[in-house]
Point group: C2
């Protein structure tokens, strides 16, 4: 049950985590551009800045090791772009829910994986990823919209259930192949159980059924 | 010829400058999302972070005075949104040129206007706006593309001439109406002459005829 044995090679981890944060930034920036009010735009721009700051922190870790960020991120572009396309949603509220849920789930996931990295880099990265994501504005906007329109709540609850599936799949693809004699699912399961519990708390906080 | 007499009321200045930086950020974020290579994406994300950091610096100045940023920015939304629509360009290179030229011109413009603000806030703001915008990536990408395709150079030269016109108009609209007895054009002219000279240097640096 030790997560260390599930930890991918460091540069693999950094490249994927860095590109995931860049994707989160791009989605938040799209939410900024399409925000219906200035105060939402303002709050979202803060969340976008935080995703970008996490991205740049991960890029610094890549450079610190003498690698180029684009080389490190390249293997993950196709998969994460597809993921981002699938999770953009059909309107602004679906996009907000996606930023909130997939961003939160992937942060949690990479924080868990970072436990298995060498201690110095692992603790720097978990500290970086655990920084406030500035997503209270997302929660606030979603709660207000759901309170006004129960039909939106039902639609977003379904959308949230789809998002968790897509996100767990993309997270799963980040994990190394395990040796044949150890059924990998039994070791990954407790990690994913925790991720889903945190996801469920986020859904609950919005008044949505996970 | 004293720019002080051209300086708008402080909150007017801060609201417009803050929204202009947010627009610059949104355009750069769009350029990040549509970048054809990872290294361009990476460099542009840095430029986007810097525009956002200037925006948040201006928002802090608004808050420091007990005002709400959305209230301060609201009067400028329609004009600057229209400006941003007009200056998005038809493809990625036109968008890059727009980010570079309009961002540079508006930074210069607000730095000039900030000379007339109360000294403490004026010097903080000119320092903030004069920070490196991280636009060397824009210059690099544009130079490389123009070197490969002379037809693109001609098209971008025309696009640059149109951008300067649109940007000077939106800048002009930021200046206060002057008393009737003073022909305002005679006082604004030297400021605009300097702005155009800096614009011409940016065009020259790209090998484009201003």
């Amino acid at each position: 049950m030790d997560i260390n044995s599930l930890t991918p090679e460091l540069m693999h981890f950094l490249g994927q985590a860095a590109y995931a944060q860049l994707g989160e930034f791009e989605s938040l920036a799209r939410a900024v551009s399409t925000a219906p009010t200035l105060s939402a735009k303002e709050g979202l721009s803060n969340a976008a800045a935080r995703a970008l700051s996490k991205h740049h922190g991960l890029v610094s870790e890549i450079r610190r090791r003498g690698s180029e960020p684009d080389t490190a991120m390249a293997p993950f572009v196709a998969g994460l772009e597809r993921f981002r396309q699938q999770t953009q949603g059909g309107d602004w509220h679906e996009l907000l829910l996606s930023c909130y849920l997939t961003g939160g789930l992937l942060d949690d996931f990479f924080i868990r994986l970072s436990d298995g990295l060498p201690r110095d880099v692992g603790s720097r990265i978990s500290g970086l990823l655990a920084e406030d994501s500035g997503t209270s504005v997302l929660v606030h906007e979603l709660q207000a919209a759901i309170a006004k329109d129960p039909a939106l709540g039902s639609r977003l609850a379904m959308w949230g259930r789809r998002l968790v599936g897509d996100t767990l799949l993309v997270a799963r693809s980040a994990m190394p192949k395990c040796a044949e004699q150890t059924p990998e699912d039994s070791r990954i399961e407790p990690v994913f159980t925790d991720l889903i519990a945190a996801h469920t708390r986020r859904m609950d906080g919005l008044g949505l059924t996970a």
